[in-house]
Symmetry: C2
Subunit: 296 residues, 2 copies
């Protein structure tokens, strides 16, 4: 394989990595210029502002929300089931005014039996970068977390959960935030929330209120309420996402350290066989897909 520039340009952040022929990261830059912060479609200019000094001959491989309608180039979804080869075939190529070539890996659409249409962008590439670990079931925690199931190196199905966004809404904008003191992780309170949701997964609109009532009656200290709420929501997600699935399957969590640790803790409480994946597996996924496309 050859060197390339890996671009992970999401809704709220910009991340670029210069990746050597051996897969090692030689250079990287991160900025808060998520795609929603880019005005008037000035993606190329924003991009050059951050990595203008990097080698212009290197191919750029991009995935994630940058391929959405709000992104640089909107790429039509590929359909589940899909393997890395299919994503390689569907790459969209763009020549920039500065003489670079950007290769966009599109996301996936799934004809979901539960909600008819489900979509993701970026997580497919992470999964293809993590398949070599032997895991088959993946969770990508985040604003909208995704539960992705693979079989024979193909992504068969997935489901979106609005857990991260819900947590932000309830902790910052609802009455539940008023009694909270601080955001320090409290494992006991987190576990209590997880178990509450495991015991009654359909009761979340009711259980959420306990974040207030337990605080009002000093059954939980104010400093524990943030973690308790997190446990309620993550526990509810896990209970539902694993309801009809093989509990012995090799699960892997792909996410940054703090939130991934919470998911792993809760998934172990559910008796799942789960490991922490490499948070940079998206780069490896881009490398595999771009290689199959003959780009690197």
């Amino acid at each position: 394989m050859k060197s390339f520039i890996s671009l992970d340009w999401g809704t709220t952040s910009f991340r670029a990595y210069e990746v050597g022929a051996d897969g090692a990261i030689k250079n990287q830059t991160t900025a808060a210029d998520g795609i929603t912060a880019v005005k008037d479609g000035a993606f190329e200019q924003t991009f050059e502002n951050h990595i203008g000094a990097w080698d212009k001959s290197l191919p750029i491989v991009a995935s994630g929300m940058i391929t959405s309608r709000q992104g640089w180039v909107e790429c039509a979804y590929a359909e589940c089931p899909a393997d890395a080869a299919e994503l390689a075939q569907k790459i969209t190529h763009l020549n920039t005014a500065t003489g670079r070539i950007v290769h966009f890996i599109t996301g996936l659409h799934y004809k979901s039996p539960s909600i008819q249409h489900d979509v993701l962008r970026g997580e497919e590439t992470q999964v293809f970068g993590a398949l070599a670990t032997g895991a088959t079931h993946f969770v990508t925690p985040g604003t909208h977390s995704k539960w992705i199931e693979t079989k024979d190196k193909r992504i068969e199905s997935f489901a979106t959960y609005m857990t991260g966004e819900s947590f932000a809404l309830y902790s910052k904008h609802s009455i539940l935030g008023r009694l909270m003191q601080g955001e320090a992780h409290d494992e006991a309170a987190f576990t209590r929330g997880v178990k509450q949701s495991f015991a009654d997964p359909a009761g979340i609109l009711h259980s959420l209120f306990s974040t207030r009532s337990l605080g009002l009656f000093n059954a939980l200290p104010a400093t524990a309420l943030y973690s308790y709420l997190s446990g309620l929501l993550i526990g509810q997600e896990i209970a539902h996402a694993t309801r009809a699935h093989d509990h012995d399957a090799p699960y892997m969590v792909l996410g940054s350290a703090g939130i991934a640790a919470s998911y792993i803790s809760a998934m172990k409480l559910a008796g799942l066989n789960v490991k922490l994946g490499n948070p940079l597996c998206g780069i490896e996924g881009q490398r595999i897909i771009a290689h199959q496309a003959g780009i690197i």
Copy 2:
């Protein structure tokens, strides 16, 4: 019974009614001065600003969030089960500087088997004002809706659902609001949301995302998404609130016209025996409790 002034002073609104000896409303005033808008505990002054011209010899009967820690006088909760006589015994009396007497009816605490502590303030008085209808199971839709079960004229148990607040959060502050056009009620979309939640009540964090994905794929028009989201949340609440209850029990919805109609529509889809109650039953409840206390 004698005449009195009924005070319904909640978090976001102030309502007062002059009620005749026969129970008829002779005078009323409504303002946006909810208790959170009252600065430095100036409840009496705010109160006189609105009803200063009303007869000072009339007893005032108050219930709702005005008896909470954030209200005029904090009243300790009564414990479930409780009847009107017990609330009458627990009334807190206050003499104002202007020579009025305010009688505060406190709220209820319930040692909930599901969330340990549950509370309400104001809805207990509505229920006691509606018991003569023969209904035994009551729903009070709102920011936090309450499902209240009675037996032999006592409130036995209740459960809070954060449905209204969740709807406001998701429709106004989440990604789900971005595709929405307008807030007009669309009964078909509402029903679709209700049925989605009835079919998979534990899947709400997942189903919520369909408000976006169905819009993205034009499976629902943008004008229908607001009602669809409402159906998802209300359906989820109803599915859980009635999970272990008698579906043939006489249910009654106590709420203002629009939201009550949505609840009744969804509860009928669930096969429940439900009727619309009088939205002013809180006044009748105050009248009954104050009469038992010998105040009127």
